[in-house]
């Protein structure tokens, strides 16, 4: 199948990248856990919190979430109520798949919006050296995490578009091998 071969490689790359981002996010959660416990320990034993933990935790959540967003989408874990859609896919598979394609396409377009408008936010943060925290005590530049947000949103956009394309294929009667096509 020429079409399937043409399709498989970029999808494979996307899969690889989302898994890598996912690994980083998972490790980041472990770091977050350790950071907070060290902070609590330090506050209760030494009597003062560790400088910068609050800022780092705040920044971390955005990072973790956007790194994980694409993989969460791929594994079908974003919250939705799928009773109607599942019934549709069973009784009228083509209409069900067409709807699915439209939903995923919508998600892709929204993510494109976020990427488009988040890029200037990230570049401004870099050029003007925006930071969080208190100057003189602890500051953390915001551009690294904003770049992660842009990257994660872009990957999520691609994942949405891949899902939309594979649903569209099915709606038109072409059923690619399920696992590869995602």
């Amino acid at each position: 199948m020429a079409l399937a071969d043409f399709w498989r490689r970029p999808v494979g790359w996307l899969h690889f990248i989302t898994m890598a981002l996912n690994l980083v996010a998972t490790a980041w959660i472990v770091v977050l856990l350790i950071m907070i416990n060290l902070d609590v320990f330090s506050l209760n034993v030494v009597g003062r919190p560790i400088v910068g933990v609050k800022e780092a935790v705040g920044v971390s959540i955005a990072g973790i979430v956007f790194l994980q967003l694409a993989e969460t989408l791929r594994s079908g874990r974003h919250i939705r109520s799928d009773m109607f859609l599942n019934r549709m896919k069973m009784t009228r598979p083509r209409i069900g798949q067409a709807l699915e394609a439209v939903y995923h396409l919508t998600g892709g377009v929204l993510m494109a919006f976020i990427v488009w408008f988040a890029i200037p936010i990230a570049t401004t943060a870099y050029q003007s050296s925006y930071y969080v925290g208190t100057p003189g005590v602890f500051t953390l530049p915001t551009w690294p995490v904003l770049s992660v947000v842009v990257l994660g949103a872009a990957m999520t956009m691609l994942q949405f578009l891949v899902l939309a394309a594979s649903s569209a294929c099915r709606a038109f009667g072409y059923w690619p091998d399920t696992e590869d096509a995602r």
Partner: protein
């Protein structure tokens, strides 16, 4: 009613339709909010608002609470702590009629103090409690009903993801919400036990599968051969409860005593759960990694929703719809009580076909305008909103807890209808407790 208010109203209705049609909830909220904001102020500022609110709404220390409590709950779910709880509660209640059902409720209530989702409670206790209850002569309907019913305690008794989400949307203290939920949560557990007791007395055919069944707890442990002293026996009952006790003490005690912020309590609780799991040799590094991976997914899906909720509530404010409806409500002469009854009925109605999280996200940003207009106590308002939303976990056609029980049990002889019928008495109990907490706001203020 101006043009903008109509747009706002259209967006809410559109959201309900799209979510029901199977669109991802976050996507539906973002799409219609973007549309609504675009209609009012144009596409360029709308896009900028979407991007910046997605980023800024989550760059806060507070949000650390989500992955940490999710992690703690998942760790506790993969250990056998739930089993120990059920055993211990069963031993204590073995002489009581319907005691095994009550043991399930109480074990669930304590388990709920370590986890934040009802799904975790439902799946863990389906595996532990349903076979044991059936073995001891309870009907299948009653067994699955008790598990589905008591699983709602998972999100009522703190830590609870729904309260975290409510706190974020309403911008009120999550710690205060957690503490306010303790008494209503305990009250719900008591109401469930009373329901079981009443059923066992007046509808024994619903509870017991044959006449001989008495519903006491496992009798296996009585036959230890020699008769140990009272102290030893007490220790046998208490010992398995120590690890759970530590977790509950760290989390609730830490928050209540003011030692920890909710984020810190989540962090310490998650670490403590991991240490307990490791000490009991129930966790391997591989298991821990998988649990953390799952934590990331749950966190991403919830925070994605919260990002969408942020732009949605900005859209509502821009549309001016809440103000219009406020005027309308004042003109209609519908007082505080009328509003509350309407609001709670709406939540329960939506709960029949939407999941708890989406109802909170769609309705609360909007209802808050009224609640503040009526000068309500927002913490109490949160507690009653969440009880009302959770009732939907047990109602057909889309009672999530019942579906989780069905999926976990995976048995052809148990239909989803059996589970809905079995949990119906608990649905009634929830409505009664909801009415009580709504009528007596001080119930949620007892510990604050």
């Amino acid at each position: 009613m101006g043009m903008e208010a109509w747009i706002g109203l259209g967006c809410i209705v559109g959201c309900l339709v799209l979510v029901q049609a199977g669109m991802h909830i976050a996507v539906a909220l973002m799409l219609l909010s973007l549309f609504g904001v675009t209609m009012v102020i144009g596409i360029e500022p709308a896009g900028r608002m979407l991007a910046s609110s997605s980023i800024s709404s989550i760059s806060s220390y507070l949000f650390g609470v989500i992955p940490l409590f999710v992690l703690m709950g998942l760790v506790v779910s993969v250990t056998s702590l739930g089993h120990d709880l059920f055993d211990a509660a069963g031993r204590i209640l073995k002489r009581v009629r319907g005691g095994l059902g009550m043991a399930t409720v109480i074990a669930n209530a304590v388990f709920a103090a370590c986890t934040g989702t009802s799904i975790a409670s439902a799946s863990v206790f389906t595996r532990i409690a349903v076979p044991e209850m059936e073995r001891q002569g309870h009907t299948t309907r009653f067994s699955v009903g008790v598990v589905a019913g008591s699983s709602i305690l998972g999100m009522l008794i703190p830590p609870s993801l729904l309260f975290i989400v409510f706190g974020v949307i309403a911008n009120i203290s999550i710690g205060a919400l957690f503490i306010a939920a303790i008494v209503p949560g305990a009250l719900m557990a008591v109401a469930f036990c009373a329901t079981i007791s009443l059923l066992a007395a007046f509808r024994p055919d619903f509870v017991f599968s044959h006449v001989g069944g008495h519903g006491g707890a496992p009798v296996i442990d009585d036959s230890d051969g020699d008769h140990p002293s009272a102290v030893v026996r007490l220790w046998q009952v208490v010992k398995p409860l120590v690890p759970v006790g530590i977790l509950v003490f760290v989390v609730l005690g830490g928050i209540y005593g003011g030692f920890f912020t909710p984020t810190e309590a989540g962090g310490v609780g998650a670490l403590a759960a991991i240490v307990i799991g490791l000490v009991r040799r129930e966790l391997t590094l591989k298991k821990i990694w998988n649990v953390v991976l799952e934590t990331g997914r749950v966190t991403a899906s919830i925070v994605f929703l919260l990002m969408a909720a942020q732009i949605y509530s900005q859209m509502l404010t821009l549309s001016g719809l809440p103000m219009v409806l406020n005027d309308w409500m004042e003109a209609s002469g519908l007082g505080l009580v009328g509003f509350l009854v309407l609001y709670l009925a709406l939540l329960i109605l939506l709960g029949t076909f939407l999941d708890s999280m989406s109802i909170l996200l769609i309705v609360v940003p909007f209802a808050l305008h009224f609640a503040t207009g009526f000068n309500m106590d927002l913490i109490w308002f949160g507690v009653i909103s969440i009880i009302a939303v959770e009732i939907g976990l047990l109602t057909p056609p889309l009672g999530l807890s019942c579906f989780v029980v069905k999926a976990t049990l995976n048995r052809d002889d148990v239909t989803i209808r059996d589970i809905f019928v079995g949990s119906f008495p608990f649905f009634i109990a929830m409505v009664v407790v909801l009415a009580l907490v709504a009528a007596v706001p001080s119930v949620s203020r007892l510990l604050l």
